[in-house]
């Protein structure tokens, strides 16, 4: 079998595997649901994730050990990951092939030549790494913005899958939503469309992971090169060169993605994968100028304090950033989150959403709870998000820890925030209508929402008796039939409050429970009252799960809303004096 065929099989295999992992990132027990599928495997293989978190946290989170294998293989073989494994790379490879297959060979050669701008990816890498490198100043992990594995995971899980599943509802019972997905879509499709300008545009010019592999692969033991001197410099080897590494001349090892097209295309079999250097010489070092390096280094170091001038990690923190249960304190969280979207994908209720920039630039695409989206806030008996988080930005907590029971009884439950009732919008508070859906759905025991019973005299609720017979009070005013018949209305007569059973246009029938002792005279006034249960929050008990907010029937701007005050992960955001 030809080596390029093997390479294509490898690309297809890993791409299909990647898509499969996206599909099975669904809570459930069927074979196509999560079970024990290693859905984070591609993210774990990604050394940019590993090195990024090492820089910010000075530790290597256990599952990321896989990255060591990629690093070792790259040091030995070069950028095999780009050409053989990376699912995003394979998409570019395929689209680039489709877009340029009809053009003339000379044009292809021109298209696939090396360009100076290919150094930009190194600058991107350096900026990201130096943003992460000095936790003592300020460090943030932003590699996920452009890391190809994070990017492709996010794009597949939060865009393509929901779009495909929308009409068939196979993966999810009801449609999934992701707020601000348009931006993820824009980035993904621009990256794809750029292949029509230059094949593998993203890989050549932008990809920080590719840049990292280029640096790691500079001492590769085997590399592509010419093995005979018969080269007539026809440049046919460059017509399908995926990396733009110029194998016809002095090959640029750091740009070579091991696609083996040059070996395939050379009519004289001059090119091979060998441990010798290419006969015409090679350039192993990435083409980074000293000036470029220093500028991006300084840029990276300065960027974080500059971003944080917004005060979003200080007093100006944004109350709308409600993180999933188990999320680390904000500063630590930002040192680990790679914006891959795995938590948003796995969340069975769809409440975890990609964040916007309201909470600062660093918040973009990090997980934030939006209780208006999804099937029911953060479910009490669920810890799925922490289980899939590849970097432990959301810790893999147990149900006991989340609920504060068992060995965690002392610490208490994890609070995501606190619910606040908007008394200007709440039906029983603002409109004297019975409701308390929030109380009913509060999953905490005893409930964090409690009610106080109150009787409010309704508008035009003072009526004049014309006659009383038995339990029927005839009144002089005209009332809407059945208006007080819901079981929530009462009539105050003689200082006594009695439940109204029914009413006609001019009479009210009251409950038989207590007979009217003294028949009142005609002209006596009675008051019609509505019984209300007005909700209150017990801040000590509220865990900020947002089920109340999700269920609140005031469906536009909810009458009960969770905000992040009181979240347990950040001790400086607590609300109450007590611990």
């Amino acid at each position: 079998m030809k080596i390029v065929t093997v390479r294509r099989i490898s690309q297809i295999f890993f791409f299909v595997l990647f898509v499969w992992f996206c599909i099975v990132s669904t809570v459930g027990e069927k074979f196509w649901q999560i079970r024990a599928w290693p859905v984070n495997w591609f993210l774990q293989l990604d050394p940019l994730v590993a090195i990024g978190t090492i820089l910010t946290t000075h530790t290597l989170y256990m599952p990321l050990l896989w990255a060591l294998a990629t690093v070792i293989l790259t040091i030995v073989f070069g950028r095999f990951f780009c050409g053989w494994v990376c699912p995003f790379g394979s998409i570019h490879h395929f689209v680039g092939f489709l877009g340029n297959r009809r053009i003339k060979t000379a044009e292809k050669i021109r298209l696939n030549r090396y360009r100076k701008a290919q150094r930009v990816k190194y600058f991107i890498l350096i900026v990201f790494l130096f943003m992460a490198a000095f936790p003592s100043i300020d460090a943030t992990l932003q590699v996920g913005l452009l890391d190809p594995i994070s990017l492709v995971s996010r794009s597949f899980n939060l865009l393509l899958l929901p779009i495909v599943d929308k009409s068939i509802n196979f993966i999810s019972v009801s449609a999934r939503f992701y707020e601000g997905a348009w931006l993820i879509l824009a980035v993904f499709f621009v990256a794809i469309l750029l292949n029509f300008v230059i094949p593998r545009f993203y890989c050549r010019f932008i990809c920080p992971l590719g840049a990292l592999f280029a640096i790691l692969g500079r001492f590769a033991i085997w590399r592509i090169g010419k093995n005979k001197s018969e080269c007539i410099n026809c440049k046919l080897c460059e017509q399908s060169c995926e990396g733009g590494c110029e194998p016809a001349g002095k090959i640029r090892i750091s740009e070579c993605v091991l696609c083996f097209n040059c070996r395939q295309d050379c009519p004289y079999d001059i090119i091979s994968y060998q441990n010798k250097s290419s006969l015409d010489g090679e350039i192993t070092n990435p083409d980074i100028s000293r000036r470029g390096f220093v500028l991006s280094l300084v840029g990276g170091i300065v960027a974080v304090p500059a971003i944080r001038l917004s005060g979003k990690l200080a007093g100006n923190w944004y109350h709308g950033i409600i993180r999933p249960p188990g999320a680390l304190p904000e500063e630590e969280f930002l040192k680990r989150c790679i914006k891959c979207g795995q938590c948003m994908r796995i969340c069975p209720t769809n409440v975890i959403q990609p964040g916007g920039i309201d909470g600062g630039l660093e918040n973009l695409w990090t997980p934030v709870l939006n209780n208006r989206i999804g099937s029911s806030g953060c479910q009490l008996n669920c810890v799925a998000c922490g289980q899939v988080c590849p970097t432990s930005a959301i810790r893999p907590i147990t149900l006991d820890e989340k609920k504060g029971v068992g060995e965690f009884a002392e610490v208490g439950p994890i609070k995501l925030g606190t619910a606040f009732i908007d008394r200007n919008r709440c039906l029983p508070w603002a409109m004297d209508k019975p409701c308390i859906v929030c109380e009913e759905n509060c999953p905490v025991s005893p409930k964090a929402i409690y009610t106080q019973e109150i009787f409010e005299t309704i508008r035009e609720g003072i009526l004049t008796i014309s006659k009383v017979s038995g339990n029927v009070i005839e009144v002089q005013e005209t009332i809407m039939p059945e208006r007080f018949a819901s079981g929530d209305y009462y009539c105050v007569l003689d200082g006594q409050r009695r439940k109204i059973k029914a009413n006609t246009e001019d009479a009210i029938e009251i409950s038989f429970d207590e007979d009217i002792e003294k028949i009142p005279a005609a002209g006596t006034k009675i008051e019609v009252q509505v019984r209300l249960q007005r909700p209150y929050i017990d801040i000590e008990k509220c865990i900020g799960c947002g089920v109340c907010e999700h269920e609140c029937p005031v469906s536009g701007k909810k009458a009960i809303r969770v905000s992040a005050e009181g979240e347990t992960r950040n001790s400086d955001r607590k609300l109450l004096l007590k611990s």
């Binding site: 209720t349 509060c442 929530d488």
Partner: protein, 331 residues
């Protein structure tokens, strides 16, 4: 320098061109006539045709309307309770499709009693198959995330292990309905799909305290049939529950009071909220079942206005004594 085009058009070419132009104009005209809309859009949205839930009830057998069985084993108790009403064959005929509607409202484990008991649901599924049912469907439209509710409550697994088809509330299964004598259920979407396929309907509900409605029992269980923004009905909870009792005519309801949720309902959340009452009620009249259920929650029938409303609407009787309930005890 100008060039004059002295190439004359051929007759044949000209005719072809005229022909094509004619066909294009005709097509444009045809489409215009076909789609011409003189009125413009009307107010409101088109909700498609209205559906009505079938009547699933079986003929009355006086003296065999309601049975109340004491015993700690749900499986034994439900078998006995159904046997006392004349056996499962009275309700299910050979070859019928049966829909079972347990309360699966919350994503909460079975031990907390916020949802129907999975073993009980499984046993009723088995009984239906024993009676020769062609197919048994277990379905609900929960409050919390549907998949999670069926998973965590244990009902999904128990039901499918017993051979039932578990149907989750997918959007295409909802249709609008109209309750003729209703005030609230007017052009309202209900979870219709699974019930349209069924010949018989069995409701299975636990007895739970409910802060707004007073109690959640077999009548409140039908809340799960409502789609749309059903939360707004809480403004008039008694009327909506009474209307549900008018809309749904089940074959049988099973009210499980083995454990009763006394406080913190309807979600519960702690075993401390539960009290053992060791009672299983099977009834063809859900009002009677719920009226008896009141006694286990230390409530009076008059504490639940929806019972009176439903009774006034002719959905059943709250005077369960008049139906001569059959009492029994299983060990």
């Amino acid at each position: 320098m100008t060039e004059s085009n002295d190439k004359k058009i051929q007759r044949r070419q000209f005719l072809a061109r005229v022909g094509k132009a004619g066909v294009s104009i005709a097509a444009a005209g045809f489409i215009t006539c076909k789609l011409y809309d003189k009125q413009g859009p009307k107010a409101g949205v088109d909700i498609g045709s209205l559906v009505t839930l079938p009547d699933f009830s079986v003929p009355d057998k006086p003296g065999q309307v309601i049975s109340i069985v004491k015993g700690a084993s749900r499986v034994k108790a439900v078998n006995k309770a159904i046997e006392l009403l004349g056996g499962i064959k009275r309700f299910i005929n050979e070859g019928e499709a049966v829909a079972i509607k347990p309360n699966v409202a919350f994503a909460s484990p079975p031990m907390l009693g916020a949802t129907a008991n999975p073993e009980l649901v499984a046993e009723v599924v088995r009984l239906c198959y024993k009676a020769g049912a062609r197919q048994v469907i277990v379905t609900d439209n929960p409050i919390n995330d549907p998949s999670s509710c069926f998973k965590l409550s244990g009902i999904g697994k128990a039901a499918s292990n017993a051979g039932a088809e578990v149907i989750l509330p997918r959007p295409n299964l909802f249709k609008h309905t109209m309750l003729t004598r209703g005030k609230l259920i007017k052009n309202w979407p209900i979870f219709y799909g699974p019930f349209a396929r069924a010949d018989k309907l069995i409701g299975i509900a636990p007895i739970k305290h409910h802060h707004r409605a007073g109690a959640s029992m077999s009548m409140k269980n039908w809340y799960g049939l409502l789609g749309g923004r059903r939360n707004i009905f809480h403004q008039d909870i008694n009327t909506i529950i009474a209307e549900l009792a008018m809309m749904v005519k089940p074959t049988l309801v099973i009210l499980d009071a083995t454990q009763v949720m006394m406080t913190n309902g309807p979600t519960g959340g702690s075993v401390k909220d539960l009290r053992w009452a060791n009672t299983m009620i099977a009834s063809c009249d859900m009002l009677a079942a719920d009226a008896y259920g009141c006694t286990l929650l230390d409530l009076k029938v008059s504490d639940l206005p929806y019972l009176i409303k439903a009774q006034n609407a002719g959905a059943g009787t709250t005077d369960y004594e008049s139906l001569k309930p059959i009492f029994a005890t299983v060990s």
